[in-house]
Assembly symmetry: C2
Homo-oligomer: 331 residues x 2
C-alpha cells in the first residue's frame, strides 16, 4: 500500500543553462536523494560548430550536477585547456569567437557521432549522463533541431538587418547591440522529446528556475504540447524571477524582454508567463525582496506570490529559494 507520505515526490523542472543548473543544485540539496527530478532543458541554444553538435544548456546542467563544471567561468569543463581553439585559429577556421575547450570537445565528439549514427538527442543525452550521474533525469525539450536566431542591425545589408545565431549574439556581440527580433527556427515544428510531456503530467510540482524567460524557458514552453501539459496537468507551477530590481541577475534577459515588449521587471515576467487560472502557466511566482512591492500586483493578477532573497550565492541560499518556491504552492 502506497501512502502519500511514502511515495517519492516527483518534480519537473524546465531549465536553461547556468541559472537552471545552479537552481537544481539547491533543489537537490533541499530534496535529498529520495525525490524524482526530471529536467526538461532548453536546446534552442544548440549549435553546430566545427562539425560538432554543441548543446550548451544540456551540458551546463550535466556538468554542474555531475561535478564537472568550471564554476568560476560558469560554463564548460573545469581543468580545461584550449589547444584546439589555438589550433583552429592557426588554421584560420571560423568561427573564432566560439571557443571549445579540449575536454568539452570530447563530449561533443561522442554526441555528434551518436547523432550521426541515428540516435535521437534524448538517447544521446541519456548516454552522456551515464558518466556524469547528475542525480536527475535530464531530457532535451525536443529531439528536433531548434535554433534561436536574433535579428540585429547591419547597415551593410540591403535590408539593414542581419540574423545571427543566438550564440553569436551572446558570445560574439555580448548582447551589446539591440535585438530587433527573436526567431526560434524550427520551434513551430518541434515535438517534445520522449518523456517530456509525461514528466510534466506526472509531476507533483513543476518549477521554473530563474532562467531566461525568452530564450530558455520561453523556447521550452514553445514546444508543442508543453504549455498545454503545464496548464492542464495536476501539478502546481511555480517560478522564480530572473529579474531583480528591474535587471537580470546574469545573462541578457533584459535585452530580449525589451525586444518582445515585455516589462523588464519581476512582475512583468510573471505576467508574460500569465496566471494558470487565466490562460497562462503560473500558479506561483517568487520575487526578490527588492521587488516586494510587486507581490500585491501579482496576487491581483491571479498568481500567488512572495518575496524572498533570490541571489544564488551558495547552495544553502539556493536551497532556501527552492523551499520558498515549493511552500508558495505547497499543500
Amino acid at each position: 500500500m502506497t501512502t502519500a507520505g511514502s511515495a517519492r515526490r516527483r518534480y519537473a523542472v524546465l531549465s536553461g543553462g547556468y541559472g537552471g543548473a545552479r537552481f537544481l543544485q539547491g533543489l537537490l540539496h533541499l530534496l535529498g536523494p529520495d525525490a524524482e527530478v526530471t529536467v526538461v532543458a532548453n536546446t534552442a541554444d544548440d549549435m553546430w560548430v566545427h562539425g560538432l553538435k554543441v548543446c550548451p544548456d544540456l551540458d551546463t546542467v550535466m556538468y554542474t550536477l555531475g561535478g564537472g563544471l568550471d564554476t568560476e567561468r560558469g560554463w564548460g569543463r573545469r581543468d580545461e585547456s584550449w589547444l584546439i581553439k589555438e589550433e583552429l585559429a592557426a588554421y584560420q577556421v571560423e568561427p573564432t569567437w566560439f571557443g571549445l575547450g579540449d575536454r568539452d570537445v570530447a563530449t561533443h565528439l561522442v554526441r555528434t557521432q551518436m547523432l550521426e549514427a541515428g540516435y535521437p538527442l534524448s538517447a544521446v543525452t541519456d548516454a552522456l549522463c551515464r558518466r556524469w550521474d547528475p542525480g536527475v533525469r535530464l531530457l532535451p525539450m525536443s529531439d528536433d533541431r531548434v535554433e534561436t536566431h536574433i535579428a540585429v542591425d547591419d547597415p551593410q545589408s540591403p535590408s539593414g538587418r542581419r540574423v545571427v545565431h543566438f550564440q553569436e549574439y551572446w558570445v560574439r556581440l555580448r548582447a551589446a547591440v539591440p535585438a530587433r527580433a527573436v526567431v526560434v527556427v524550427g520551434l513551430d515544428r518541434a515535438t517534445p522529446a520522449p518523456g517530456v510531456v509525461e514528466a510534466i503530467r506526472a509531476a507533483d510540482v513543476v518549477l521554473l528556475p530563474p532562467s531566461n524567460p525568452v530564450v530558455s524557458i520561453g523556447t521550452v514552453l514553445g514546444v508543442s504540447g508543453v504549455r498545454e501539459a503545464l496548464r492542464e496537468g495536476p501539478a502546481p507551477v511555480v517560478g522564480l524571477s530572473p529579474i531583480v530590481a528591474g535587471r537580470h541577475v546574469r545573462g541578457m534577459a533584459a535585452q530580449l524582454l525589451t525586444t518582445l515588449g515585455v516589462d523588464v521587471s519581476a512582475a512583468g515576467v510573471a505576467e508574460h508567463y500569465g496566471a494558470r487560472s487565466r490562460g497562462g502557466v503560473l500558479d506561483g511566482w517568487l520575487v526578490d525582496t527588492a521587488d516586494v512591492g510587486s507581490v500585491a500586483r501579482l496576487e491581483e493578477a491571479g498568481i500567488r506570490s512572495a518575496a524572498v532573497p533570490l541571489m544564488m550565492t551558495g547552495v544553502e541560499e539556493t536551497a532556501a529559494m527552492a523551499r520558498a518556491a515549493l511552500e508558495l504552492v505547497g499543500p
Copy 2:
C-alpha cells in the same frame, strides 16, 4: 630560352608516413628551394574514428615538413596533450586503443568538416597545407575511400579469422600476430587524385622512399593509372630499401611481406616492385651497405643498384641517401 640548367627540376615522391616524411626532409635539404617536389601520399591507413577522418600518412608528411611533428614519438603533434583521450575513456567510448592528441584533433575537425561540406580530400589537404607550408605539393593518392584491412587469427570466430583495420593491426595488436591476408578495401575502384598522374608524368625523377612496400608504396601503386604512369613516363624511377639486413628499419614491413610471400630482403622488395625494363616499376634501387651482396643480383634483374648507408639518423645522412638515389639514375 630555357636550358636544362635553368629549368626547375621536378620530383615526384610516393610516400607513406614516417619513413617517407623523414626521407623528404633529407631530399628537400639536398635540393634546396628551387626544386618542385610533388608528394603522392598513401591514404589507405586512413580511418574514421570518433566521427573524425584521420589521415596518418598525409598528416605525418605535413607535420614533419611543416615543423609540427613530435619527432620523439614519430607521429602526431609536438607539445601535444591528451585530455580528449582521457575524456573519451571516461565516456567508455571505443576504440580506446587509438589515441588522438588534442592539437591533432583540430586538424581532423577541419578536415572532417570540409569533407562533409563536399570538398574532396585533395582540396582539404591543400587547405590544411596552407597553414603548414610543407615546401612540397602534397597530394593524397586518391580522393576515394581506400582502407587496408588485415585478416588475423581469431579462434572465437566460426571462420577462425577476423578482419581488422590496418590501424588496429598496427596500433592495438602491434603487428605481433600473423597477418593472414592484406585486403585493401576500395583500392580496385579508386581513381588517382587530381594531379597525381600528371605529376608522375611531368617528373624528371620519381622516388620511392624507404616506406612500407605493402601498405604504403604498395597501395599507392595499386591506384588505377599510377603504376602505368611510372612505367610509361619519361622519368627514371629509383627506390630506397626499407629492409636492411633482412629486417625493416621501423614498422611492420617484414610481417606483411611474409604474408605476400615476398622475400624479406632488400633485393626481395626490389624484385617485388620489378625492373621497369621487365614490366615492373624500378630503374634503380639503393640498398644499405649491409646488403652490398645483393647489388649484383639486382643488376642482373635489370635494376641499377648501389649500396650506401640507409639509416636516416639525421637530415644530412638522409640528404646523402637522396643524393645517392638521384645519382644512381642520374645523367
